[in-house]
Symmetry: C2
Subunit: 158 residues, 2 copies
Amino acid sequence: MQRTAITPRWLDAEQQVIWRAFLSGTNRVFLELDAELRRFGLDLGEYEILVNLSESPDHELRMSDLADRVRQSRSRLTHTVGRMEAKGILVRNACPSDGRGVNARLTDEGYALLVEAAPYHVESVRRVLVDVVDPDDFVALGRAMAAVADADAPTEAD
Amino acid sequence: MQRTAITPRWLDAEQQVIWRAFLSGTNRVFLELDAELRRFGLDLGEYEILVNLSESPDHELRMSDLADRVRQSRSRLTHTVGRMEAKGILVRNACPSDGRGVNARLTDEGYALLVEAAPYHVESVRRVLVDVVDPDDFVALGRAMAAVADADAPTEAD
DNA sequence: CAATAGTGATTGAAACCTCAACAGAGCGTA
DNA sequence: TACGCTCTGTTGAGGTTTCAATCACTATTG
C-alpha cells in the first residue's frame, strides 16, 4: 500500500454521532452477553460454536466449516475447541471422507449445557437489544448489518 | 442469581435473522477497521484512546475518565497505555489536583500519528459501513444503538 | 484526629488470541 | 509415479485481556 496523502472525507456531525453510538451500543451488547454466558463458563465465541454444532446433523461439523460459521480464525478455533474438548463439551474425530479433516461433535454434556444456557442467552439478547429498540429500527438494523456482512470484500489491490 | 427455570421467549425467525446479521456485520466492521489501523501499529482500542485525548484540553485526560470514554476496564487501559507510553505515543503524569490520579497526555508524536491515521480510518468506516448502508437505515441504526447504549443498566438484583 | 470506607490506578498470573511456521493429506499434471 | 501446489488443521511463541489482589491516596464518620 502506498501511503499517499488522501483527502479525508470526514463524517459529518450526525454521522459521527451515529458512529459513536454504534461503538458504544455494540460494546454494551457484547459485554452483557458475555457476562450472562459467564455464569455457564462460556463466552459468546464458545456459545456460537455450541449453537452451530447443535444445528448440524449429528451435532457435528468440520473444523473449517465451523470456523467459517462462527467467523473465527482456524487457529483460534483449534485453541478454543481444544479447551472445550478438555471440558468435555465436545470431541474431535478424524473426518472419514477427507484425511485432512477433523470433525467436532457435541457431547451429550455439551448439548445439555447449551440447553441450559440458551434461555438465559436469548433473554439477554432481548433485554439488551431487541426489547430496547424500536421494532422498525430493529428491522432497519438488520438490513444495515446484512448489507455490511454481504458487501464485497475490499480489493487487496490498493 | 437463582438459576430457576425460565420460560424462554425465543426469537422468531425474522428476529433471529436480524440477530445473526448483527453478529456478522459487527464482526466484519471491527475486523476491517483493525486491519486498516494495523498499518499504523494501532488497533481500534488504541485509536479511540488517541481520539479522546486529542479532543481534550491539552490533549490530556485522567486515566479513569479515559477508561470510561473508551469503554475499557481500568486494568486494560493501564496495560494499553503502558505500551503506548513505551512507544512514545503518550506520557503519564501525576494528577496535580488528586494524588491518586494519573493523567495521560498525547505527545507530539502521538498526535502526529493520529493525524496520519485518521484519514485512512474514516475511509475504512465509510467503506465498510457508511457507504454500504442505506442512509435511512444508517440513521435508524444510530437510533437503535443509542437506545442500547443509553438503556438503564440491568439491575444486579436478579 | 484517628478509624474506616471509598476511589484511582497498578500489578502479576492465568486465560486467551494472533501470527507465522509447519505437517499431513488431497489434487493436478506430466 | 512423482512432483509441486493447495487445503486442513495444529503448534508454539509472543502479545493482549481479564481477573483478583493490592497499594496509595481521599473522603467520611464519630
